[in-house]
């Protein structure tokens, strides 16, 4: 049961026992844990088969962050973490049912804002929606994201509802750092500012995390990397949360743009570069699992991998009564079980391919996929790229790079290519299902080889064969 999907990873782990690296298969070490096996946000592998949706029933917040502007609201903007829709509990349930009827892959319903899911005005709505979803769709997992200020006192209620995943955003464990990120918090009828605010917040966050872990929940920590403010501090945050037994610590890049009107955006606070992000992840990741496949979903995101089908399910498009086909949902799960077994077999073949290429240097390569763990996305449709490092001992998942982080509209093709080239920085090749002549030439100019010879094969197998310079084995399961 505990056999990892990419067995080469285990080989690599054996050769570096004291410094386990993050692997594509790292989440699979615990994939037998039913709490994460089908959870796309916790298991990198499940990410290929299951979808999550976030329901925006929690607009009220209890703290102010310098990277957030609560007035900001734009339907064209796909800025992660921001939603344009605010739903009542009834509308939220209607949306969940509509998505469940249309998207059998949906396995997780989360509440992540747009404010804080546990703030005074939000908590009653959060709990009401969870109760309603639990009753209508017992097979769906519920999860919640919070800033942690009001977590400790809600742990018993969360436990009662059977919520076993929570995400806490924790950016600092030192008030001196925290006060540069949080101008104020609302706590027990008072607005606290400055160091007092940061100190209270971090104490409540750590207490909440401890209580949730003690209650047996899987706690994931998100930290926003803010260059010059908490980059040197995040290893300390990592240590603090690790000591408290959190399940995953995920570092996300600050999104900073003057147009968003945030304090950081207006002050010209830069977002981290890919290299900065990786170096901080590395500094923290020495003895931890990191979740590099996270893509900072918006609070109303719907879909798999990088897709966001949220626009299909806005309130005006919802049917009054959605027909849930429970059978289709079960069927989907059995097909997935077969696919997963098949992917494991492919990983074994990948082992063999890599073994032939012993003593070769590490190469970074990007993959376009739309799910199923396969190289199956047309380059022209790709909005994000999965990056891997491959060498003769195995492949390791570097992370997801998005080429649409700030804006979807308003960019010409050329600009988009620029964003794509930036996302592909450092890659020797990109493996796609198909690519047009022009973009292929443009990539070639930038020194990146666009390869469509591994279309439809599993990612592990395609990468290994590309690396080993082998032709594909005769059988390509489509």
């Amino acid at each position: 049961m505990s056999r990892p999907v990419v067995t080469l990873a285990s080989i690599k782990r054996l050769s570096e026992p004291e410094r386990p690296k993050i692997k594509a298969s790292s989440s699979c070490a615990s994939a037998s844990d039913p709490r994460i096996a089908d959870h796309p946000c916790y298991s990198e592998e499940a990410h290929h088969y299951f979808a999550r949706m976030h329901v925006a029933v929690a607009p009220a917040c209890n703290i102010q962050c310098n990277y957030c502007n609560r007035k900001f609201d734009c339907a064209n903007e796909s800025r992660p973490g921001v939603v344009s829709e605010k739903l009542t509990v009834e509308e939220g349930l209607q949306k969940v049912l509509a998505v469940a009827a249309k998207v059998p892959q949906m396995s997780v319903v989360g509440i992540a804002g747009p404010g804080d899911s546990l703030a005074g005005a939000s908590a009653p709505k959060t709990f009401a929606l969870f109760k309603a979803v639990r009753a209508a769709l017992p097979d769906v997992k519920l999860c919640l994201s919070t800033n942690g200020l009001a977590l400790a006192e809600h742990v018993p209620q969360l436990q009662e509802l059977g919520i076993d995943h929570i995400t806490v955003t924790l950016n600092a464990v030192d008030a001196e750092v925290g006060e540069k990120i949080y101008p104020w918090i609302f706590w027990q009828g008072r607005r606290l500012t400055g160091r007092e605010a940061a100190q209270t917040l971090l104490e409540r966050q750590l207490l909440g995390i401890e209580k949730a872990v003690q209650a047996g929940m899987l706690v994931k920590i998100n930290s926003v990397l803010i260059p010059g403010i908490n980059d040197d501090h995040l290893p300390l945050v990592h240590k603090a949360v690790q000591e408290r037994g959190v399940f995953l610590h995920n570092i996300m890049p600050l999104i900073s743009n003057p147009e968003h009107g945030t304090v950081f955006g207006l002050a010209g606070q830069p977002a981290p570069t890919n290299a900065q992000l990786e170096s901080v992840q590395e500094a923290c990741g020495i003895d931890a699992k990191l979740m590099r496949h996270c893509r900072q979903c918006r609070a109303d995101a719907v879909g798999m991998l990088g897709e966001d089908r949220g626009q299909e399910f806005t309130s005006d498009k919802l049917p009054a009564q959605a027909q849930i086909n429970h059978e289709a949902r079960h069927l989907y799960r059995s097909v997935v079980a077969e696919e997963r077994a098949d992917r494991k077999a492919a990983a074994l073949r990948a082992d063999a391919a890599l073994a032939l290429a012993a003593h070769s240097p590490k190469r970074r390569v990007a993959v376009c996929t739309k799910g199923g763990g396969r190289i199956n996305e047309h380059f022209g449709h790709a909005r994000e790229f999965r990056l891997y490092d491959v060498d003769a001992t195995g492949l390791s998942f570097v992370g997801v790079r998005r080429a649409d982080n700030y804006c979807q509209g308003g960019w010409g093709e050329d600009d988009n290519m620029e964003a794509i080239l930036k996302a592909l920085e450092g890659c020797e090749a990109v493996l796609v299902s198909k690519i047009g002549r022009c973009p292929k030439d443009e990539l070639a100019k930038a020194g990146i080889d666009a390869v469509d010879g591994y279309a439809l094969s599993y990612i592990e197998e395609g990468l290994s064969n590309w690396y080993a310079g082998l032709a594909l084995p005769a059988r390509i399961s489509a």
Partner: protein, 64 residues
């Protein structure tokens, strides 16, 4: 002796409605409004007007 909400600034988040000790705040057309006759400026209940303390937009809950 009452507060008001500047409608053009209000995000409609509802944080103030929940905190008001006098149920003086109601939603109307996506934004929130304060019923002046119910508002006590939180006198006797809290040190500071709760709506102003929790509102994410500066200078939105202000003395009428």
């Amino acid at each position: 002796m009452a507060y008001k909400i500047i409608a053009s600034m209000c995000t409609g988040c509802g944080a103030c409605e929940f905190e008001c000790p006098n149920k003086a705040i109601k939603e109307s057309d996506g934004v929130f409004i304060i019923k002046a006759d119910k508002c006590t400026e939180c006198e006797g209940a809290f040190d500071t007007p709760q709506c102003a303390a929790v509102c994410p937009v500066d200078d939105t809950c202000v003395p009428a």
